[in-house]
Symmetry: C2
Subunit: 237 residues, 2 copies
């Protein structure tokens, strides 16, 4: 019975257009470096409204694939067609991501972030991280979940790393991390106290400028989360 149902087409008009723009590129009707057809023509040809075309352009622009010049036209980025094809295919399905990959990537970013933070932190950075730690402690004392305060501590470390790209990537995956935290209820009272101790240890390493130590403690700190993700996967499988 159930197998007769089809997956509902949740693909938005915008995604459809992105797909079609890719086809234009694939069929060499649209080459790297030259101009996209005007929005009106595109809308007309694809049989959709201009609003949706604009939406698609905004999204591709966000990824650096397109570049629009007011009152002039939309240019296909200098990036080569070969790479473009691969890129656009993924932009569409980029939004959703699996838990394991998320955690794995987080560990990678955070261990390096902690290391760099220890090497480059200023007194101001230390003050900010301390502030975040105190805010977390207060929430834990009140018995609250404090997921945001937890993450804020980590974000402040990313900020102290002085690597803007690393911080940006952290910001991008942060909402997903929080959602997973809430969904799987990773945190309870006991965990929170351990987390606090871990955080203290990490901060200490950063203050001392001990990059290797900060990286190591951070990795151990996140190991619990990794283990948890493994157990969840095992449960599902």
């Amino acid at each position: 019975m159930l197998e007769h149902f089809h997956e509902i087409s949740s693909e938005t008009p915008v995604d459809k257009i992105i797909r079609q723009i890719r086809d234009l590129i694939t069929s060499s009707q649209l080459n790297s470096g030259d101009r996209l057809p005007p929005e009106r023509k595109l809308a007309d040809r694809l049989g959709v409204s201009r609003t949706h075309v604009r939406g698609a352009i905004r999204k591709l622009e966000f990824y650096g694939i397109l570049k629009t010049v007011p009152q002039s036209g939309t240019l296909v980025s200098g990036i080569g067609i070969t790479a473009l094809e691969g890129l656009i295919t993924d932009v569409i399905k980029l939004e959703k991501s699996d838990f394991t990959s998320l955690v794995e990537t987080r560990v990678i970013l955070e261990t390096h972030g902690a290391k760099l933070a220890a090497q480059r932190r200023t007194p101001e950075d230390i003050a900010e991280i301390k502030k975040a730690l105190v805010a977390y402690e207060q929430q834990v004392i009140k018995g609250n979940s404090a997921v945001e305060e937890d993450l804020m501590f980590h974000l402040k470390i990313a900020e102290a790393s002085k690597n803007t790209v690393l911080k940006s990537l952290m910001l991008i995956i942060t909402p997903d991390i929080i959602n997973n935290f809430i969904q799987f209820k990773v945190c309870d009272d006991q965990t929170n106290k351990e987390v606090f101790k871990d955080h203290q240890a990490i901060l200490q390493c950063i203050i001392e400028g001990d990059g290797a130590g900060a990286s190591k403690v951070m990795e151990e700190h996140l190991k619990d989360v990794v283990d948890f993700s493994q157990s969840v996967i095992a449960l599902i499988t």
Copy 2:
């Protein structure tokens, strides 16, 4: 004379609105979990058109900060206000990034990507990577720059890592990397041949399942780019 000129206000209406929405949150007129005022009210209150409000919402939605439900309303994500404040401030200035951070982060992502690829690659992955390598070789023989083919090789490795998030983050920074490549003309004939040998060595490690080796060779491979970035910085400073 020159100091009398002001920096032109290149802040788009959308960015202005994002800033104002943050203010709404900061002043606790808008709390985590509850609904954003309807688009019309917001547009009215901020004195802008609904289109711009929608643009701002799309952008914040992209970052997981907002979530719109058709015919119902736009919800502020479960993420706490504390973190939200920090996040939104950065969303605005997220787009631009510095070269050093970019390269540094790339090395981090790629070394881990290569390691995971060596551990998890399927025969299909190897075939894909080989194909990218051949495409690169052909461009080099022709004497072309082959920046895209180079990047494509790296993207295929990211794909073989089976870590969707890592690959996504690679995709996000790829356009910036390409732009910097073109801007600084990192590549010439001699470099290209060395790059090809490096790529071959990396592929060999991946085929053999040698994670540590793949990671190491990848790091050395990217070291040249790192050095180059350092020299550029030194030149500017």
